[in-house]
């Protein structure tokens, strides 16, 4: 489905997440679920079978007692810019990278539920619908009309709130502009974060906040060595937090294959 005009990279959306400012409140996780019509947990769901397009993980420095220190790392689809593992393994072509935005898109309607992509994803950022989506009676009235609910048996994941991107694009067209005003397009987790730890913007625009933050010395990306060029940049002033981003074993053996 990717056409030949692949080179016209209009924007390369990405995030800069300040780990030092994350207090693990979980606002991003519920805001994401509200925005994207993700259903509440099935009674049997666990942390392995749940649906959380963005999930905040707690990491620690490995010490015991009073020396122990923790940090929270919000983990969502990293929107790999290069060799995204989920794209190449999909037998259904249900995953693609939008050359206009850099967003790795997942098409639940094409998905046959083989979960190859979940196995391939080095970040465990993809989630499978193990159960029929179900909302308590009446709560379906609160669903967001800009996002279609998914069915059981398909994989879904973060797409930088594509419903909001559509709305921003329509607004841009209505105003007669061609480029989206950065203020019009912001994923739900960014808007919801009470501490302002998550920033969102165009990495191609070198003056944008995300691009500037990505260039900072304390900025890092998860599993950078496997060469997938993720577009989620984290930053922390603590060295042990930055070290959690490395794969457990160094070297090329952790690359795909």
């Amino acid at each position: 489905m990717i056409s030949e005009n692949k080179k016209t990279l209009a924007a390369r959306y990405g995030m800069s997440i300040d780990v030092d400012r994350c207090n693990g409140c979980g606002s991003c996780m519920v805001a994401c679920a509200v925005e994207n019509n993700v259903p509440p947990a099935n009674a049997n769901a666990t942390d392995r079978t749940g649906l959380t397009w963005i999930r905040v993980f707690k990491v620690d420095n490995g010490l015991e007692g009073a020396d122990r220190r923790s940090a929270f790392i919000p983990l969502l689809c990293q929107h790999c810019g290069h060799d995204a593992p989920c794209v190449s393994v999909c037998p259904q072509q249900a995953v693609d990278i939008d050359p206009a935005t850099g967003v790795v898109g997942q098409m639940p309607e094409r998905c046959l539920g083989c979960r190859y992509c979940m196995t391939a994803c080095p970040y465990h950022a993809r989630y499978f619908n193990w159960w029929d989506p179900a909302w308590p009676a009446g709560m379906e009235k609160t669903l967001n009309p800009d996002v279609a609910p998914r069915m059981r048996g398909v994989v879904e994941k973060c797409n930088f709130c594509h419903g909001r991107w559509h709305a921003a694009k329509a607004k841009t067209a209505a105003e007669g502009n061609t480029a989206i005003d950065p203020g019009d397009y912001m994923p739900a987790c960014v808007e919801a974060c009470p501490t302002g730890a998550i920033q969102f913007g165009d990495l191609n625009d070198s003056s944008s906040l995300v691009a500037r933050n990505a260039r900072r010395a304390e900025s890092f990306r998860l599993l950078e060595s496997i060469g997938t060029d993720p577009k989620i940049h984290y930053r922390s002033t603590k060295a042990w937090v930055r070290d959690t981003a490395h794969p457990p074993r160094p070297g090329k053996e952790n690359a795909r294959g």
Binding site: M1, I2, S3, E4, N5, A94, D96, I97, D98, P99, A100, T101, V103, G105, M107, P108, E109, R110, D146, V147, A148, P149, N159, H162, G163, H166, A167, K169, A170, K171, T172, A173, A174, E175, G176, T178
Partner: protein, 187 residues
């Protein structure tokens, strides 16, 4: 003997062709009538309306689709013409303030995102490109609903395909090199 065998075979082919071309469309579609036989032509000629007078956009580019009763009642609070359909519309809908349940020929599945404003304003497409002569028609066509899928048989116009299928969208996008990703048109 061999010749007779071919006759049987050809008879089978003919029966299938007849059933497939003549019988099948009748069986698969159920015909539903629109609440009122609306004439786009009268509105275009007599009221001098353009498409986007009634099918409006708001400030952030959201398309109103089929206008709500409020819009119609603005002019049709009382009878303006002499047609039976208008009388029916005023008596049954405007006066009791009941929203008519229009059947939308171009209704798309839940997972489809379509933005009118980007096509009309950014892509400079004419309404007729997809909706054909809908805007100048004098009667509404019967709404032929597919019994299995639940969608209209066609969206009226001179679109490249009878119904507004994904292929029709993709054809056009491919020609204009605007085919980027699935999530352009899906939500």
């Amino acid at each position: 003997m061999k010749f007779r065998g071919i006759i049987v075979f050809v008879a089978g082919v003919l029966v299938a062709l007849g059933a497939g071309w003549a019988g099948f469309p009748r069986v698969i579609h159920q015909t539903r009538r629109q609440p009122v036989d609306f004439s786009h032509q009268i509105h275009a000629d007599k009221a001098g309306s353009k498409c986007d007078d009634c099918h409006t956009f708001d400030a952030v580019g959201r398309f109103s689709g089929v206008p709500e009763l409020e819009k119609c009642s603005g002019c049709h609070a009382a009878l303006m013409g002499s047609t039976a359909e208008e009388k029916k519309f005023v008596d049954q809908y405007v006066t009791p303030n009941r929203e008519p349940e229009w059947l939308v020929y171009a209704r798309q599945p839940e997972n489809v995102y379509f933005s009118h404003i980007t096509h009309v304003k950014r892509g400079n497409l004419k309404c007729e490109k997809c909706h054909g002569d809908h805007g100048t028609s004098n009667h509404l066509r019967p709404y032929q609903e597919d019994r299995i899928s639940g969608y209209s048989r066609d969206i009226w116009g001179t679109a490249t395909r009878p119904a507004m299928t994904m292929d029709a969208c993709v054809d056009c996008h491919r020609q204009s090199h605007l085919e980027h990703s699935c999530l352009d048109c899906h939500k």
